[in-house]
């Protein structure tokens, strides 16, 4: 008997009798005999004590480093209460809110989540979340192409390369064409956009802060895009939106991005959470779940999944997206993060990240081995050119317990010597000084 399966010998006997078969194997009689019971190379079951021992050994083969890198995953502070609250069984073990009368908890926090995402982005309506920022961006492309009934999209070269790759994979199989907009000294080139944009393109995808960490200036963008009836899609780290101009104010039609930066642990790349928000005009074209307010039959306020006619379980092959659920528990995570940190806390954490990143940049530029290549504003992530051997730099930092900067050459051979640092509020002045001191010892 296993602790997860409560059937006693007596139970099994009584149940088989009711069914009218002689043994458990008789329940599988219709399966072709030659297919049954193949041998499998699996370990025998472990007790809890053995498991803890096993995982002690495994985690000793991991060595968490102190990150000075972001590249889509940011080491922000996670208040203790979040873990305790999201692990309440009522949230953790429930499934999707198909029975609203006993799912008001899930539906309410989705409503709160949507409210907060619209506050950050300035958009009219948010969905209940998506798998990650990259797939959310690809879904935004589908939404634009579906709306405009064209099969081409423009994507800026300054978007994170992994996001571009995911967009390209999704585009390729759907039969869509991705055309790249050139960059101009670290930011999406307006001139390139102007020369490319025409009615053949369903829309334009840009990112801010971009792959270099630069805060892009979209002055003039929405005019060019809307002139050709395209949709303007801005991918933005939502934590920066406590400070920066909103996608809505730049004239975005769809705002998407990775919301991991709202306190979600790094967890070696996932689970994270993509967000998507749009205008009233395109609300009925948005993929994913949307929660709305209604009344019960006594007139009491209640929450319910709404506008479901958009979704795959109704539209099947006519649906514009196959997304079934959302990233619900992570939506709860960031909702609690934005509540506990609140109006001032999210702002302050980002302001400290901003200041500390600028301090690090200043200190690095005092070294003879670093130079600035872009003269543009950045937020908590920035790119410099180094004369150091980047491999040696990162090996040295690793030995001291730090995760060094991202070498952009990983994605693009032409970017020799370019390295991107990220700093959050978790990096203290002492850590930054130590980090710079170690780098300063290298030639």
């Amino acid at each position: 008997m296993h602790k997860y399966m409560p059937h006693t010998h007596e139970d099994v006997k009584a149940m088989l009798e009711k069914i009218g078969v002689k043994d458990l194997d008789a329940l599988f009689a219709e399966i072709p005999k030659e297919l049954m019971h193949r041998d499998m190379d699996l370990p025998r079951s472990m007790s809890e004590l053995e498991l803890y021992d096993h995982f002690d050994k495994l985690t000793s083969q991991n060595k968490p480093l102190i990150p000075f890198m972001g590249a889509g995953a940011y080491d922000h502070y996670t208040p203790s209460v979040i873990r305790h609250l999201i692990e309440r069984q009522e949230f953790l073990t429930a499934y999707t809110p198909y029975q609203p009368e006993i799912s008001q908890g899930t539906l309410q926090y989705i409503f709160e989540y949507q409210s907060m995402i619209t506050q950050l982005t300035g958009m009219d309506v948010s969905n209940a979340s998506m798998y990650d920022g990259a797939t959310a961006t690809a879904e935004a492309m589908f939404m634009a192409c579906g709306q405009r009934r064209t099969d081409k999209i423009l994507v800026s070269k300054t978007v994170n390369p992994n996001v571009i790759d995911v967009v390209k994979t999704y585009a390729k199989y759907r039969g869509l064409e991705v055309v790249m907009i050139e960059e101009d000294a670290g930011q999406t080139s307006l001139a390139s956009l102007q020369s490319l944009m025409c009615k053949d393109y369903a829309g334009v995808i840009v990112q801010s802060p971009n792959v270099y960490g630069i805060i892009e200036d979209y002055t003039g963008f929405s005019e060019v895009i809307s002139e050709h009836k395209g949709l303007f899609i801005i991918n933005q780290d939502p934590s920066t939106l406590t400070h920066l101009k909103t996608p809505a104010s730049w004239g975005a039609d769809i705002a998407v991005g990775e919301a991991q930066s709202l306190g979600v642990p790094l967890s070696y790349g996932g689970p994270y959470i993509g967000y998507m928000a749009t205008t009233k005009k395109y609300m009925r074209k948005m993929p994913g779940r949307i929660c709305g307010v209604t009344k019960d039959k006594d007139g009491k306020r209640a929450f319910v999944l709404t506008l479901q006619a958009r979704e795959q379980h109704i539209r099947r092959d006519k649906a514009n997206s196959n997304i079934c659920s959302n990233q619900s528990l992570l939506a709860l995570f960031v909702t609690i993060y934005m509540s506990i940190m609140g109006k001032k806390g999210v702002y302050e954490a980002q302001k400290i990240s901003f200041n500390h990143a600028h301090y690090l940049e200043e200190k690095l530029l005092e070294l003879p081995t670093f130079e600035r290549i872009f003269d543009r504003p950045f937020f908590k992530e920035f790119t410099l050119k180094t004369s150091l051997d980047v491999k040696l730099l990162n090996e040295t930092l690793k030995d001291k317990g730090y995760l060094g900067p991202l070498p952009l050459v990983t994605f693009d051979q032409s970017k020799q010597g370019l390295v991107t640092f990220a700093v959050t509020e978790k990096r203290t002045k002492a850590q930054i000084d130590d980090f710079v001191h170690i780098i300063g010892g290298l030639k």
Binding site: F55, A94, G270
Partner: protein, 484 residues
């Protein structure tokens, strides 16, 4: 007392719930043209405000630890506590995805071993764990199917066969992968009609998507013949892993002839559903399809694991990093807890539970297909249709007895479908109680139909006006304020 507040409605100016260290670094500035003029309207609440608010919000939900949750096709099994503890270990949770390989060997071992064990269990050559959910796995699997045909210059194959009993995600995934779905009618028991299948098989068929056991819980007995026919026609077989639970340790999709499959770790391998995510939808393939796996691919080499196992034929990147590693760790812990020696008990006891409920309730609820089911089965509403008590009414009445209703009105081929899936963790006592309640509801439907039609009575809210929500969308707090 019913707690009705939104977090915004308990917000009080200047209250705070956080603490941050004081920074000694000076202030830097940004040009005003890049700054927003206002502050986003996030709540201002104390720590206890937040804790109490979300605790009260949680009371309005029903979870597996509260009671029986026989939601068909969703495999709502117990989510072991230890899985959570392991995934939270700092050695796993605090790793940046771009850490050097020699600092993440423990996590890569979990990834590699999980995909290896899934391969053993499913009879397929290898798996990617990069896909985030079942529907995402379907999309990735179909991309691989398409890439395989295209790599052979076989570009005519643009259609995927999907039975009318399939999950809605199947045809939607086909569309998103740029394939056209062809619906085939099922037999009465939801199995594939082999004769009909023969008619649609030609050189435009890329493959077929099947769930086995199907959405009515019936095992596809002709699977070997179906596989032979599809393969002879040059197509591939895709296995929707939603219903894998009753096959664990008994029979493997790979041995049945399937070429591609996805597994829902949040169904079969006990990771929490989380109210609708995060899930994880690993995709398995045969050896011939291995070169098409999405990148990165974890590879085992002499001196450790690497991430560069992808080939030039890869379908590309389908996730920003490596999928939901935090979820994979939980499934891995579960696999070790169950072990080879207990695996087939999952199949046997979930199947035993389902058949026991079916036989116990078939005099009250209409059983459209006789015979042994696997881990789930479908009733077509109450036998006595004269009461006009519908499946929806029965489901709502169940809420009053602190039980989660089964899946209703799915699959679409059964008009008044009630789809019941009692996982292996559920004891005879729990199931007997469910049977008793279901019989009572059937009795109430005869004696006092209005009682059932007015349900639920014991929930925090009563039946909702869903049309109102769609007609006048109020989708954020500000809409509520504007309305008032």
């Amino acid at each position: 007392m019913y707690y009705d507040k939104l977090i915004f409605e308990i917000s009080t100016k200047d209250r705070k719930g956080y603490s941050l260290p004081e920074s000694t670094i000076k202030n830097y500035d940004l040009p005003d043209t890049l700054l927003r003029p206002d502050c986003p309207g996030l709540p201002e609440v104390s720590e206890l405000d937040v804790v109490r608010h979300y605790t009260n919000v949680s009371f309005k939900n029903f979870g597996i630890e509260k009671g029986f949750y026989p939601l068909g096709s969703c495999t709502m099994k117990y989510n072991p506590k230890i899985n959570q503890d392991i995934a939270n270990l700092p050695g796993f949770a605090n790793l940046h995805p771009y850490q050097p390989l020699d600092t993440v060997q423990g996590s890569l071992h979990v990834y590699y071993e999980t995909q290896r064990m899934l391969s053993e269990i499913s009879g397929l050559d290898t798996f990617t764990l990069n896909s985030y959910a079942g529907a995402h796995g379907e999309l990735v699997g179909l991309m691989i199917m398409k890439a395989y045909h295209e790599s052979r210059g076989d570009t005519k194959r643009t259609k995927v066969i999907v039975p009318d009993s399939a999950h809605g995600t199947n045809p939607a995934s086909a569309t998103v992968a740029g394939l056209e779905s062809v619906e085939v009618k099922s037999n009465l028991d939801g199995t594939v009609n082999v004769n009909d299948l023969k008619h649609v098989l030609d050189d435009t068929i890329a493959g077929i998507m099947l769930t086995n056991p199907n959405t009515l819980g019936m095992f596809e007995k002709d699977i070997l013949e179906i596989a032979k026919l599809v393969h002879q026609a040059g197509g591939l077989l895709y296995y929707d892993g939603a219903n894998l639970n009753p096959l664990l340790g008994m029979v493997r999709p790979g041995d049945m002839g399937f070429d591609i499959m996805h597994i829902n770790l949040h169904k079969t391998f006990s990771t929490p559903h989380g109210g609708g995510g995060p899930g994880s939808g690993p995709v398995g393939v045969t050896k011939a399809l291995k070169p098409f796996l999405p990148k990165p691919v974890v590879k085992k080499e002499k001196d450790g694991y690497t991430l560069d196992g992808a080939t030039d034929l890869t379908i590309g990147q389908i996730s920003h990093f490596y999928g939901n590693m935090g979820v994979v760790i939980k499934a891995y812990t579960y696999l070790l807890t169950i072990g080879k020696n207990n695996l087939s008990d999952i199949a046997k006891f979930s199947t035993l539970n389902a058949n026991y409920i079916k036989e116990s309730l078939k005099d009250d609820y209409l059983l459209p297909f006789k015979g042994i089911c696997k881990h789930e089965f479908v009733f077509d509403g109450l036998i006595d249709k004269s009461t006009h008590v519908t499946t929806l009414d029965v489901a709502k009445r169940l809420l009053d007895f602190d039980m989660h209703p089964p899946t209703v009105y799915f699959p679409l081929i059964v008009k008044e479908a009630i789809m019941i899936e009692p996982p292996e963790n559920e004891s005879k006592q729990t199931i007997d109680k469910f049977i008793e309640v279901m019989k009572q509801i059937a009795k109430e439907a005869k004696e006092d139909p209005d009682l059932v039609k007015g349900a639920p009575y014991n929930t925090v809210v009563k039946r909702l006006d869903e049309a109102l929500a769609a007609r006048k969308p109020v989708v954020k707090y500000k809409d509520l304020l504007d309305e008032a």
